[in-house]
């Protein structure tokens, strides 16, 4: 089963992640799916140059066995940690949204935002009409 390695599984995880990102309406689950897409990218990078029975990239290595490539591991190491910090920031934004609109459903939030925009525009229109009338009165 040569196809069953980390790269293909990472792609399947990527597909699952993007599907859940589009299909689910809850913001928290969308964020979880985004995290899954992140993890799938990391798994992909690590398993590209991996062949079975490779040694850990720490010297001294056992003789004759090739060593796993340290470069992608170094790249993703700090990526995992800053993913956590950015995830915390997105969760803060989600919490602020929930406090404002009382729902994590993206459809409901969209409707609420459009309703707010509509009331703001109608207020703007109503605000500008009396101004022009006052101008005509003074002239």
């Amino acid at each position: 089963m040569a196809w069953l390695n980390g790269t293909t599984i990472a792609m399947i995880l990527f597909a699952i992640g993007t599907t859940a990102l589009i299909a689910r309406r809850d913001l928290v689950i969308k964020l979880l799916a985004l995290g899954l897409v992140n993890s799938s990218g990391i798994l992909f990078l690590i398993s590209i140059r991996f062949r079975p029975q490779m040694a850990v990239p720490i010297l001294p290595a056992p003789a004759g066995i090739p060593i796993a490539d340290p470069l992608p591991q170094a790249l993703v190491l700090s990526a995992i940690v800053i993913n956590f910090a950015i995830l915390a920031l997105s969760l803060v934004f989600i919490m602020l949204l929930v406090e404002r609109y009382h729902s994590t459903d993206c459809g409901r939030i969209e409707h609420a935002v459009e309703a707010e925009k509509a009331t703001l525009e109608s207020q703007n229109l109503a605000g500008s009409a009396p101004e022009s009338e006052a101008q005509e009165a003074t002239q």
Binding site: M1, I9, L13, I16, G17, I29, L32, G35, P57, L91
Partner: protein
Amino acid sequence: MISRIVLLLLLPIIAGVSLFQRRRLAAVIGMGLFSLVLAATYLLHSAPDVAVTEAAIGAALVTVIYVLAIRRTGRLLVVGDEVPGLLSVEGGKLVGVEVDILDGFARRLGFDLSIQVVPLKDVERTLLQGDADLGAGGLSAQPGASLHRSRAHLPTALVRLRPKAGLDASSEEAPAAEHCEYPGYFSDLVEAIQRNDPVEATLDMARFLAVSRTDLSRWSVDRLDVPRSYAFVAAPRREDLRDQLTAYIDELEASGALDEIVRRYLS
């Protein structure tokens, strides 16, 4: 070798199952499990640094901040008896006019809603003991002192039910109770009426509508001429809750949502 393949096969299964859950908490915990299995996979792919970091972050810190972010702070505890149309259990879920109002109210406050079914006579006692925050379930009577009644959301009337068998010539008119009362749970009362047990009760309109579907030829039905209305009752020292609930129901009425809710359940 085998363990690596097994873990790799396990990953999409866990991810797929946990991302398409109905509850958010289940999804979060499922993804925590996914992080753990992913850390083991990294280890088997000869990446120990990445494995330690992923295990510490994914399983511990990320799960904790997700759980903190999705929790609703505080709980609203509501007690009441079942009333078909206002607050009834259908298919394992609570539905009804009052359930909708309370659900929106709890969401507005950011609280978790928890509704318990208790007999009608126990509602006031539970509130006075401090075991609940709100009383619901078709309360039409004026509550005792120190309980706070919110504004009415539906008008109603009272109907008195007496078994005809007990109405002999010698029966004098026992004074009709001016409020809705019956023993025990409402569902028990419905069963008793269906079995033709001689029970006496004074019911409000919603309950009477539910009972009137059975054959009532053995009961005398008198309509009492006292105007009543349904409202919620808040526990002692919770006037703030009563005021917020009244304001919320005012909003619902102004926007027409109240009529829509009533029409959906009671038309």
